[in-house]
């Protein structure tokens, strides 16, 4: 197999990796905010549920979570869901990353001084306005570096879809390397992840810089 064929075979895997990455972010960034807000709910039962969810997600390997989401419906409930492989991957990633993002958001929200809420309240802002106009913009600036970290981790974590034999870059690299007795696929995969993260870092730095106008 020539280098070109290898590359073009792996290109389809890169697309799939990119798809996991994008869908996970689209799902988990907003879901994390909902989880963070529910974590501050005034109902004890809701707070308890959220904290159990977060500790299970953080306390078990993502690889195991992938297997549970994929096989769970059948073994636990006897459901046979057609074409479940890809949805199971996305659900597992979104649910996992939402928990981590929620903790980042929570830290950010808690670091906003009480005086900001009070000033907004005295000025007559509604609770929703206070959150959207006063609190959230400041939270975003504070959490950006931590979010960048998570996003970079996500780029590399997509390789765990390999567990469910999903043909993303890492699975393909391993497969091609075995069949061709070649080290090259691993190098290609390595360069791919590195470049992807280089781009992530570049974009996040730009966003951070755009918020440098205040302290």
């Amino acid at each position: 197999m020539t280098f070109e064929t290898m590359l073009s075979t792996m290109a389809s895997g890169m697309l799939k990796t990119g798809l996991i990455f994008v869908l996970t972010l689209i799902g988990s960034l907003p879901l994390g905010m909902i989880v963070a807000l529910l974590h501050k709910s005034r109902f004890f039962i809701v707070r308890k549920f959220i904290s159990i969810y977060i500790s299970i997600i953080r306390g078990t390997p993502l690889m195991l979570q992938l297997l549970v989401w994929y096989f769970g419906p059948f073994y636990l409930f006897g459901w046979n869901i057609g074409n479940w492989r890809f949805p199971a991957i996305i659900v597992a990633f979104v649910v996992n990353y939402a928990a981590y993002f929620a903790e980042i958001y929570r830290g950010g929200i808690e670091s906003i001084p009480q005086g900001q809420y009070e000033a907004a309240q005295v000025l007559g802002y509604s609770k929703f306005q206070t959150f959207m106009r006063i609190i959230l913009p400041q939270v975003v600036k504070i959490i950006l570096p931590s979010v960048t970290n998570e996003v970079i981790t996500l780029v590399k974590d997509t390789s765990m879809a390999f567990t469910l034999a999903y043909a993303e870059v890492f699975s393909l690299a391993k497969q091609i390397s075995a069949s061709q007795s070649s080290f090259m696929p691993f190098l290609i995969a390595g360069v791919f992840y590195f470049v992807a993260n280089y781009v992530v870092e570049f974009i996040m730095k730009r966003i951070e810089k755009s918020m440098d106008y205040y302290k």
Binding site: G115, Q116, E118, V122, L123, G124, K141, Y214
Partner: protein, 252 residues
């Protein structure tokens, strides 16, 4: 009467912070509240501006009851729609300014009038620039809070409160977080507002200032009003022993 507070009671975790406090503020009146820390001055302001809820008593703004004592002896507040109106009557200037750091000075002042009161952008901005001019910082409209000195930030906070056109403006130790050389510029604008007959209640430790601008001084200690009256009486010739004790500290 702009504001009447009757028999206000407030406790935190069993500790009585306000014990049956009653006082009123007339239109155009400037009232200073003095007293040692922990006397309940700030809590009283926070109750008047609805940042804290009272446990018992009445809060009456412009003749309408915002809070009253219910049949079970606990305070009952008006409904959310009415509370909006009551909140719009009062403004508060904080010790720590609490400007919004991500908004420019102009936006700090215009955002609430536009988003809360529904004013047009042009109207709100014109009003904000006028207020900034009055505060002597019209050149700072496009700056951000972190670029301003404490005294300038506090003047922006005053402008922000005034932009909502409150009936009464409360100040919670407005100069306590400032370097001594910056307090003057803030006190000057408060004095100017007093001259314009703005109704104000000022919690302060600046005795000469209290003497110069107030129509009435209230001395609080231990959650009660110990003494109140004209500044020359309360500050110059206090009748209560506790007031004399407190003021002696400032003479030193």
């Amino acid at each position: 009467m702009i504001l009447e507070m009757n028999n206000i009671q407030k406790e935190f975790d069993g500790l009585e912070v306000l014990k049956d406090i009653s006082f009123g503020v007339d239109s155009g009146e400037v009232v200073s509240i003095i007293g040692p820390s922990g006397s309940g001055k700030s809590t009283l302001l926070r109750c008047a501006t609805f940042l804290e809820t009272i446990d018992g008593g009445e809060i009456i703004y412009m003749g309408d009851k915002a809070a009253r004592t219910g049949e079970d002896g606990k305070a009952v507040y008006a409904g959310p729609q009415e509370m909006k109106k009551f909140r719009s009557y009062c403004g508060l200037v904080f010790q720590q300014f609490n400007l919004f750091p991500h908004y420019s000075i102009l936006k700090n002042i215009t955002d609430a009038p536009i988003k809360v009161q529904g004013k047009s952008k042009d109207e709100a901005e014109a009003n904000a620039r006028e207020l900034l001019k009055k505060m002597g910082i019209e050149d700072k409209a496009d700056a951000y809070p972190f670029q301003l000195s404490g005294g300038q930030q506090q003047r922006v906070a005053i402008a922000r409160a005034l932009a909502m056109k409150p009936e009464i403006l409360f100040f919670d130790e407005p100069t306590s977080a400032l370097d001594p050389e910056l307090t003057g510029e803030v006190l000057k604008v408060i004095k100017q507002l007093a001259d314009e007959k703005m109704t104000m209640v000022v919690v302060t430790h600046e005795m000469p200032f209290a003497k110069a601008v107030s129509d009435r001084v209230i001395f609080m200690d231990g959650g009660v009003i110990v003494e109140q009256g004209a500044p020359k009486d309360v500050l110059g010739n206090p009748s209560e022993e506790r007031t004399q004790q407190f003021l002696r500290v400032f003479e030193r």
